[in-house]
């Protein structure tokens, strides 16, 4: 005795297939393409002038920061406006190590890890708070870090200090090394973000992003996942801070710990598209294109950026990449799943519904909640297109 069946589930589990990409060849092609891009970028110091590579260093740094912030806010639901704490700490860790004789380039990974270690007690403090209070707490933490660093005259106090240890390098070589190291950091950061989102943790994060209470109720270890992301973001931002001091060859507390960093990474991510890996990349590119063209306008760029970010946050929440991905249905980083119903050559793509749909579930799709068991990874959502470019969690 069953109730009237509202929808028809597929007749047999055997007729459903799950894959990561639209076509078998896609991962191979994508891998080759990524390698090609990497080779091109790697060769740039031999091709272009140092002005360009220096600019690209700044691009890579911001892109790495934005990717980290996107993981925090777009997936883990943690809106931090205090990442500059780790940026500054990363820079100062490199400074401290360099002052004790370590090559700054070698000090960089150590500094990043050091920031990750600091991230643990910081997480313990701020994790008790939610949304707005969490944000304020991260801001206060950054402010406290700055205030503490300033008290050490050996680190330059309030005026900052130069970075020792790189003076012996020839300038063009220094520029090239700095460029390659920052490219490497960016690749590692992007790869880390990509792998995390494809992993079990990524599934938990996506679940949290979509419905935190629901995620908890199926046993997802929310606190742990968030802690993991927070520490990863601390490491990432610490590396970015290390890159900063290396590229600038000096550090000043007010600029290393400036809230402007948070402003930039937040705005860039929102405009590019929060909740996607491609978004921060696109946003950073856009930012630098604009900055190069509007550089004569001084602080205006932050004003314009801020206003655009506000507008995007309210009216185009999925950002630029969200608009592109929806329009042309493309994903560069496949972190979601495609569901194939047997008998249909192309996957049944469910377009994210905006507002109320006109009728029942779109034909050919499985309705939410009716999952064919066994085919899908534990805890995953079986919708035709998961993760990728969906909306970030609200609060």
């Amino acid at each position: 005795m069953t109730a009237a069946q509202p929808v028809t589930a597929p007749a047999s589990q055997d007729h459903v297939r799950v894959s990561r990409s639209r076509h078998r060849l896609v991962p191979v092609l994508a891998g080759l393409a990524s390698l090609g891009v990497l080779v091109v970028f790697g060769a740039l110091p031999y091709i272009v002038f140092s002005g360009t590579t220096n600019l690209l260093v700044n691009v890579f740094i911001l892109m790495a920061m934005a990717t980290m912030w996107n993981l925090l806010a777009g997936y883990a639901g943690l809106v931090s406006v205090g990442q500059q704490a780790f940026i500054g700490l990363g820079a100062y860790f490199v400074l401290i190590l360099a002052m004790h004789g370590t090559n700054p380039f070698l000090a960089l990974p150590l500094a990043a890890v050091g920031c990750g270690v600091i991230g643990l007690p910081v997480w313990w403090i701020v994790s008790r708070l939610r949304s707005g209070y969490f944000a304020i707490a991260t801001w206060v933490v950054a402010s406290v870090c700055e205030a503490l660093i300033i008290r050490f005259p050996s680190l330059g106090g309030g005026t900052g200090a130069p970075l020792p240890g790189l003076g012996s390098l020839e300038p063009t070589l220094l520029t090239a090394y700095t460029y390659w190291v920052s490219l490497a950091v960016l690749v590692v950061v992007l790869a880390a973000a990509y792998l995390i989102l494809r992993s079990r943790v990524g599934l938990v994060l996506t679940a949290i992003r979509d419905d935190e209470i629901g995620a908890r109720s199926v046993g997802a270890r929310v606190w742990r996942a968030r802690q993991f992301v927070f520490v990863v973001a601390a490491i990432g931002c610490g590396a970015a801070g290390g890159l900063l001091i290396i590229s600038q060859l000096n550090v000043q507390p007010t600029s290393a710990f400036a809230v402007q960093w948070s402003a930039e990474m937040i705005f860039v991510t929102i405009i590019g598209g929060i909740g996607t890996i491609e978004g921060p990349i696109l946003g950073t590119i856009l930012f630098f294109v604009l900055q190069e063209n509007l550089s004569s306008y001084g602080a205006w760029y932050l004003i314009v950026l801020g206003l655009v970010a506000i507008a995007v946050a309210i009216w185009a929440r999925r950002g630029l990449w969200g608009l592109i991905a929806d329009r042309w249905n493309i994903r560069v980083f496949p972190v979601g799943y495609y569901l194939w119903l047997e008998g249909q050559g192309r996957p049944s793509l469910r377009r994210p519904l905006r507002g109320a749909p006109s009728g029942g579930p779109p034909a050919g799709n499985l309705p939410a909640g009716n999952q064919p068991p066994g085919n899908l990874p534990a805890g995953g959502s079986g919708a035709a297109e998961a993760a990728g470019a969906a909306d970030p969690a609200d609060g």
């Binding site: 939610r130 949304s131 209070y133 406290v144 008290r151 937040i266 506000i310 946050a313 970030p392």
Partner: protein
């Protein structure tokens, strides 16, 4: 005995901090909006006062007569438009929008003014003081500001408790949907609450301009954190809690200054972090702060 002096100073300045904080507390209590641009609004009020004084040549102490109503209206409008639009999209969006506003305001101030600090010159009133005994010297200005702050808080308390709109504000804060079912247009009520919050922060900003100085970044460097610290220490939902929080913050800072003048603000921030950890709902708040 300079400790006693410091404590008294702390209490008096605490009144000002409470005035900063009550707008923040109101906006969160009613609309669940954490306005990250709150401190910057105070700075804008200060700049506006400077401009008003330059144009109308009224004495600085009376500048609030023009600035506060302007801010009240601006608050209502901003709430009905931008902030309501963000609220409809969720908590994340609202946080990001207020953060964006904060950055935009600061950089706009930097663009149009300079990075220099300003203050509202009120002449000899700043330093006029009276003495109690040989070591305690209290500035009239500080006492005046404290009195104003307490009066405003009292007035706000009365408004919320006894007036019809105060009742509607409390109802909407308790349960927005139930208020709608009783015929209340909650967006209008939100607007009123925002107008009140903006008015109080404008008053606080002007007072701050008399006691101290403000620069484009003072909003986020200093004022926002003070306001939050007062709210968190004192607890949400109670104006008297906010007053207590402001006073505690002021006293903590003055004691910190007695120990080491460079650590004045750090002391306050550490107390804030400590309280955030052990008792996020503050002295008077209920368990849930979200």
């Amino acid at each position: 005995m300079s400790w006693v002096n410091a404590i008294i100073q702390g209490i008096l300045i605490g009144g000002l901090y409470a005035l900063f904080a009550c707008g923040l507390s109101l906006m969160f209590g009613v609309m669940k909006v954490i306005n990250l641009a709150h401190g910057d609004l105070a700075v804008v009020a200060g700049y506006l006062a400077v401009g008003v004084i330059a144009v109308t040549h009224i004495p600085a102490v009376w500048s609030f007569i023009l600035v506060v109503p302007i801010f009240a209206v601006a608050g209502y409008v901003l709430q009905r438009t931008l902030i309501q639009a963000s609220l409809n999209r969720g908590v994340l969006t609202t946080l990001l929008v207020t953060f964006g506003l904060s950055v935009v305001i600061e950089n706009a101030l930097l663009q149009f003014s300079s990075a220099n600090s300003h203050s509202l010159g009120i002449g000899h009133l700043v330093s006029d003081s009276f003495s109690i005994g040989p070591q305690i010297s209290i500035a009239y200005l500080l006492v005046a500001i404290f009195v104003v702050a307490v009066v405003v808080l009292l007035g706000l308390q009365y408004f919320l408790s006894l007036s019809r709109h105060g009742r509607l504000i409390r109802a909407v804060a308790d349960d927005r949907e139930a208020a709608q079912l009783s015929g209340v247009d909650y967006r209008h009520i939100f607007g009123i609450a925002a107008g009140i919050a903006f008015a109080t922060v404008a008053l606080a900003g002007i007072a701050w301009g008399m006691v101290s100085a403000f620069a484009p970044t003072t909003g986020t460097d200093t004022l926002l954190l003070f306001a939050f610290e007062a709210v968190v220490i004192g607890g949400l939902g109670s104006l008297w809690g906010t007053l207590a929080g402001g006073i505690i913050l002021g006293v903590a800072q003055q004691i910190g200054a007695q120990i080491n003048s460079a650590d004045q603000f750090l002391a306050g921030q550490l107390v804030f972090l400590l309280l955030l950890v052990i008792r996020p709902q503050g002295l008077t708040g209920q368990q849930s702060t979200t």
